[in-house]
Symmetry: C2
Subunit: 340 residues, 2 copies
């Protein structure tokens, strides 16, 4: 059907091995031979069959990007776009493709991975969003297959063996809440993401730790799971507001959740920051566009992707990238918090 290496060889009057050499720009080729082959390739519009190349010993030029669907839902927001896009940028430089896999369950994900590894379909993986998925991580480690996690691996023993790129969610959240405490807030609410994600847990832990450090009690009536959608966060906030004590400030573990909080507060006739202060996390573009602009923690999402990809390619190419990369963040003070 489509033109193959044999056709090229015939036209150029050489053996297929020679054509192969030209394709892979091997040394020891007479310039005129190379030219002839290149000419034939051009004439026939030949592109090597990547699958066959692969079987012949080479790896497929691609990496796998894995995520569970529910976690995208959780981040049903710009996060995912930005990360994947930045990964793709690095991939283009290294001339690799991305095989995207969003499994709905972890079992399916594991199977897919094994099939990709065994099929030599990918050279490595980037796991988006940290999860508590030990099985996959353990398996990949056991196989000594290159992979990078964007996020944190909770299991200490595993964590030492895994390449990760992340921000310090615990510290950053603590800082956010400490900022509220410095503004004299004492009844601080928290709308967080489902705790099955490491990020969510870390951020909630930061919230808790800030309270501990300042010897403040936590009122768990002011802490609610903001679920997956903006609307879930809105509902969670309503629940918090129905508590007998009203919070004077709310920490949303994601700007997008912050929007849900915004809505609930507006609806309850509470002004930000006059009645309730609000602080977010991630600093999406839109954070500065709310009314008032949202105080939040800037997370370099793009860098997260770029560096993860870079680390992966280093691993693949036998270099020694740093095992753990923690990126710097910054508290961006806008106008959604005030001193009381």
């Amino acid at each position: 059907m489509s033109v193959n290496i044999k056709d090229v060889a015939k036209l150029a009057n050489v053996s297929i091995s020679t054509v192969s050499r030209v394709i892979n720009n091997a040394p020891n080729l007479k310039p005129e031979t190379r030219k002839a082959v290149e000419e034939a390739i051009r004439k026939l519009n030949y592109t090597p069959n990547r699958v066959a190349q692969n079987l012949g010993g080479k790896y497929f030029n691609s990496i796998g990007v894995l995520s569970t669907r529910s976690s995208n839902q959780a981040f049903g927001n710009p996060y995912f776009s930005i990360v994947v896009q930045s990964i793709s940028q690095v991939c283009e430089r290294y001339n690799h493709d991305i095989m995207l896999n969003f499994s709905s369950d972890e079992k399916g994900e594991l199977e897919k991975c094994l099939s990709m590894i065994n099929g030599k379909v990918v050279k490595g993986f980037i796991l988006l969003s940290s999860r508590l998925n030990h099985v996959l991580v353990e398996k990949l480690l056991e196989l000594d297959f290159p992979f990078v996690v964007i996020g944190k691996v909770l299991d200490e023993e595993l964590a030492n063996k895994v390449y990760t790129v992340d921000t310090d969610n615990f510290k950053d959240s603590k800082e956010a809440v400490n900022y509220l405490i410095r503004l004299n807030h004492r009844r601080i609410g928290c709308v967080h993401a489902p705790l099955k994600y490491v990020v969510s847990k870390e951020r909630l832990d930061g919230y808790i730790e800030a309270h501990k450090e300042n010897n403040l009690p936590i009122n768990y009536a002011l802490v609610a799971d903001g679920g997956y959608t903006v609307n879930d966060a809105y509902e969670a906030t309503k629940k918090i507001l129905s508590s007998p004590v009203r919070p004077t400030a709310i920490f949303a573990t994601d700007d997008i959740k912050g929007f849900g909080v915004f809505k609930a507060l507006n609806e309850a006739g509470l002004r930000i920051p006059d009645d309730v202060s609000l602080i977010g996390h991630n600093n999406y573009d839109i954070a500065e566009l709310t009314q008032p602009p949202l105080t939040t923690i800037d997370v370099p999402i793009q860098q997260l992707g770029t560096i993860a990809a870079q680390v992966l390619f280093d691993l693949i190419n036998g270099k020694q990238p740093p095992k753990r990369t923690i990126l710097e963040t910054k508290l961006i003070i806008r106008q959604s918090c005030r001193e009381i």
Copy 2:
């Protein structure tokens, strides 16, 4: 290195053909043979080498999802996440993988495609976001390779041959602007996306057409390219506001751009909708969370992805999907527009 079909055959005491038959659940297999092979597969933890399967005549179970990087930038917003995720959902049902390709230039994109096709790496493509990229579309048509475009193909002659899934951007935008006109607005501004994208052009054309229909002149000082980022839209709006005549309403061709408009208006001390009405397009989750909630056109982004994928799989499986699918939209009236 890794366990292959031979190992399984040996352990099960059958030929590799038999193993292959079991894997592909061929008929005419003694139940006990099948069981023995399955047992061996389980014991050895065997997964077929997909690349080899492929070379052996089968296609790789994957489809390509294509987009240019700049267009993601343009949609540096939830759109991309939502579409890809919905595509992935369908892919999972059909047990196919996604090969994601964001090229930065169209030449690279074309080459990638050809290499994927020739390499039998994908069975079809979904092109995200309509562009004016004739070359790729023409080439795919010429090769009679299955593909679906989310968006519109402008070239009429080509359009008749291409499978597309889209909303009627022209009509919808016209409707949005007509709505403003019905509210007695006469000086309506427009902040649009770069016109190299078909969507952008269509939406701007809708804006223009609404004016024509109502015999209203267009003041091009009120029309500005809102570029790629929210901030670009903000700058564009500032430019519009610097015009001697001030618009009484603004049509933003994307909610996200609408946020830029919001910011500029706020900054200029103009209240929405009291001083200026604002209408968006797409109806992202966050649209209802702005203050005031944004009136906009609801675009079923998720369906766009789901249907595109469904059409592609139909094509691949030799069914006859509809050539053009236009999804219904709906004007969502919130509080960002008022009658004057």
